[in-house]
């Protein structure tokens, strides 16, 4: 049976061409297991796919995402590497040029910085520089974002920096359902995909159907319908957005929460439709504000929805400082519920 585009879960509202079906039985698994399933299923179907990274094999994954995969696929296809991001990223890119389909795990996207040259200069540009001769069907995945008192060098949100580069695609799943569907799409995509997970989300659970499904890139999801303000976000901050929406609803402010899901390509159309309905918009982006994903989306909304806005697009980011260690400082630093509520009130003249 070929892949079926499901769009299901209590609380999710299907839009953008997804057919909404009724679920008869719920199958609740963890986000990390959803990732595991996606990789394992793709590896079973296509022997060109392999997983490589630090501690992915014998350790069963630093965050247990690849648990059990060494046993099933063997050391040829689940490969432990030394701490050598630049080297093993470049090596995987070489393999991808040849036609294999590597999944490269960064223990944290913070560690991708030492591999910035291969992943940005080689992977993202190979097809173009070679005039269409050699592509790079590779997935780089790992934990992105702050929140666990990991301090500044281990708390990077790389989306804004990397999203600037043409030639790569980028996806950020929020729940287990999206994690599996988007990762499958990423593995099947012939282009380099940067897949940004979150350590804080790995243990969250959700319904993931047993049947085969994928989620196409460039398809945002309305996670909560509303009429007064559109909140646009990606990844873990959605958790804070949904909390904020609940709180604001008590004051009669109805928020529509849009999960962008992918950054390249960006489903600006769903976001625009929502803003045309609500006439107010807040973008919540966990990276720093200067030259960020948030500023890009705000700029696009301004230019497309100029006549539909009652106020300029407000933005919520992490504070423009290196990530602090102390818990109180870090919690204040994040794009938290309080900041989002303030932004929505300001955007809707309810301050």
């Amino acid at each position: 049976m070929g892949p079926v585009h499901w769009h299901v879960k209590t609380g999710n509202v299907g839009r953008r061409g997804c057919s909404v079906s009724v679920v008869t039985t719920e199958r609740i698994i963890e986000f990390r297991d959803a990732l595991n399933e996606a990789m394992s299923e793709e590896m079973r179907n296509d022997n060109r796919v392999f997983l490589i990274g630090e501690e992915v094999a014998e350790y069963n994954g630093a965050y247990k995402v690849s648990k059990g995969m060494l046993d099933e696929f063997g050391p040829r296809r689940i490969i432990d590497t030394p701490i050598s991001e630049s080297g093993f990223s470049g090596m995987s890119i070489g393999a991808a040029m040849r036609g294999l389909r590597p999944i490269v795990e960064f223990m944290s996207w913070s560690f991708s910085l030492v591999a910035a040259d291969p992943i940005l200069n080689n992977a993202a540009k190979m097809l173009y520089m070679s005039g269409g001769q050699f592509g790079c069907p590779i997935v780089f995945r790992g934990n992105d974002g702050a929140g666990g008192q990991l301090a500044s060098t281990h708390s990077w949100c790389v989306e804004s920096m990397y999203a600037n580069v043409p030639g790569l695609k980028m996806a950020i799943p929020y729940d287990a359902y999206d994690a599996k569907g988007l990762l499958k799409t990423a593995i099947r995509d012939d282009n380099p995909v940067f897949f940004l997970e979150s350590e804080r989300l790995l243990s969250t659970t959700g319904h993931v159907p047993k049947e085969e499904y994928t989620i196409p890139f460039g398809q945002a999801l309305i996670r909560r319908e509303g009429t007064d303000c559109t909140i646009i976000s990606f990844g873990r901050p959605l958790h804070f957005c949904l909390e904020a929406a609940e709180e604001l609803a008590k004051d009669g402010i109805s928020c529509e929460v849009v999960d962008g899901r992918t950054i390249r390509p960006l489903d600006i159309d769903t976001m625009v439709d929502s803003v045309r309905k609500t006439n107010a918009c807040v973008v919540v982006d966990q990276s720093w504000s200067f030259a960020s994903l948030g500023s890009e989306i705000a700029s696009q909304i301004h230019s497309i929805c100029f006549d539909d806005l009652d106020n300029y697009v407000h933005r919520v980011h992490s504070d423009d400082v290196p990530t602090p260690y102390a818990q109180n400082l870090e919690q204040a630093y994040l794009p938290n519920t309080r900041k989002i509520c303030e932004a929505v009130r300001a955007a809707t003249y309810n301050a």
């Binding site: 006549d307 806005l309 009652d310 106020n311």
Partner: protein
């Protein structure tokens, strides 16, 4: 053919080079790779080597001289046995690919233009325009007095209960101006209880009133108006109307006197085409369709004033159709407003103040019509029938006419034809 040596580009930013020293002289044999000269560039002193074998034929630039990159500085006669190596084509010979536009990345550009005046959010500005709300009448509740969406929506709600028309009326054909005789006694505002004014006040003109004002003046100033009045015996028509209405009772259709008049006027055009024409400067435009406009007064809640509904091809429509359309137009005009289609293309207009008890009045021509019929009420009065006094109903109607198109005799003949039809209503049935 000798090989031309040009001042080479020896660094990626070099524009000009100076020959510091020639290492060869005219007549010297050179091989590929031999040093020809030392050249000073913007960055460093570089060596110029020969790429070809041959004999130096000429040195065109002196030591110490600076020339642009690309200038010929020397020539070498080639020794190759085959025809000489052509010069490397210069950069100006690049063939251009077929013209193609640089693909534009999709960029949405905002279309709003800057304006002075109050600060307004973009959506508030758009909503104000859509609803015909004057921004100057709104106090903004946003920061720095910015007018925001809720301010406009509140104003729209307020205005819906006071005197303001919708923007739809602005973009359509001219609504029929009805100018009463100078003294206001002949015009009565129907239905609305007007409150006595205690003090002076100025009310800005609504869009509709602005347009009425403009068109009225234009009509009066450009069209040479004159009037012709006739009185009609209305008894036969009123009897027939009663009879027909009984028969039509089940259908819900109720014919009015005006419906008859519309039909009569329309049929009379057949023999009097000037009444269905317009003045065209150096010609007269005779219109094909007979589209009779009926003037509809709007209640104060709708802003007052009046609009003209158009009954198209009135000469081909039955009384009942005319009645239905007339009712529809009146109702719609009073409730939501007429569309441009419903108001446009009249060729003749009728204004009827009979229901208000007006005996007679004159109306102003609705351009580009050439005539308008002002109809008064059918009054019960002493009449002369067959040389004897009797009681009957008579109605007075006054034509206002454009003397450029219709002269007095034509007007009289038209009214005569009209009289024939109105006083012999049975002829409407055939």
């Amino acid at each position: 053919m000798p090989i031309e040596i040009t001042m080479p580009r020896l660094s990626d930013t070099m524009e000009v080079g100076t020959i510091l020293h020639w290492h060869v002289a005219v007549g010297d044999e050179v091989s590929s790779g031999d040093l020809l000269a030392d050249i000073e560039t913007d960055k460093a002193t570089m060596e110029l080597q020969s790429f070809d074998d041959g004999k130096v034929e000429s040195l065109l630039i002196n030591e110490g001289e600076a020339v642009d990159v690309g200038t010929i500085i020397a020539t070498i006669a080639s020794e190759d046995e085959e025809p000489t190596v052509d010069n490397i084509p210069s950069s100006s010979d690049i063939p251009v690919a077929k013209e193609a536009e640089a693909p534009a990345a999709t960029v949405h550009t905002p279309s709003q233009k800057q304006s002075g005046g109050p600060r307004v959010s973009p959506v508030a500005r758009r909503l104000a325009e859509e609803h015909g709300v004057d921004l100057a009448s709104i106090q903004g509740s946003g920061p720095s007095g910015r007018i925001i969406k809720r301010d406009v929506l509140q104003q729209v709600a307020t205005e819906a209960t006071t005197s303001e028309t919708t923007a739809a009326a602005e973009t359509t054909k001219v609504p029929q101006p009805v100018a009463p005789a100078p003294i206001a006694t002949t015009v009565v505002q129907p239905l609305v209880a007007s409150s006595p004014w205690q003090q002076d006040r100025s009310v800005p003109l609504s869009n509709m009133r602005q347009i009425i004002a403009k068109r009225l003046v234009e009509s009066k100033q450009t069209i040479p108006h004159y009037q012709v009045t006739m009185t009609f015996d209305m008894d036969p028509l009123m009897d027939m109307r009663k009879t027909l209405n009984v028969q039509l009772a089940a259908t819900g259709i109720k014919l009015s006197v005006n419906d008859f008049i519309v039909r009569c006027c329309a049929l009379s055009m057949a023999t009097h085409p000037e009444f269905n024409a317009s003045f065209g400067g150096d010609c007269i435009h005779y219109h094909g369709p007979v589209n009779v406009g009926i003037a509809i007064a709007l209640p104060e809640e709708r802003g007052g004033g009046l609009v003209v509904g158009s009954i198209k091809h009135a000469d081909q429509k039955s009384l009942r159709t005319i009645s239905q359309e007339s009712q529809y137009l009146s109702k719609k005009a009073r409730e939501t407003g007429l569309s441009p289609e419903e108001m446009g293309d009249t060729t003749f207009t009728i204004s009827n103040l009979g229901m208000f008890g007006v005996d007679n009045f004159t109306a102003i021509i609705n351009p580009p019509n050439s005539a308008i019929l002002a109809v008064g009420s059918a009054v019960e009065k002493p009449v002369v029938r067959n040389g004897e006094l009797a009681v009957g109903h008579e109605m007075t109607a006054t034509l206002s006419l454009d003397h450029r198109v219709i002269d007095g005799a034509m007007a009289a003949l038209y009214l005569k034809a009209l009289k024939e039809l109105i006083e012999n209503p049975a002829s409407l049935l055939v």
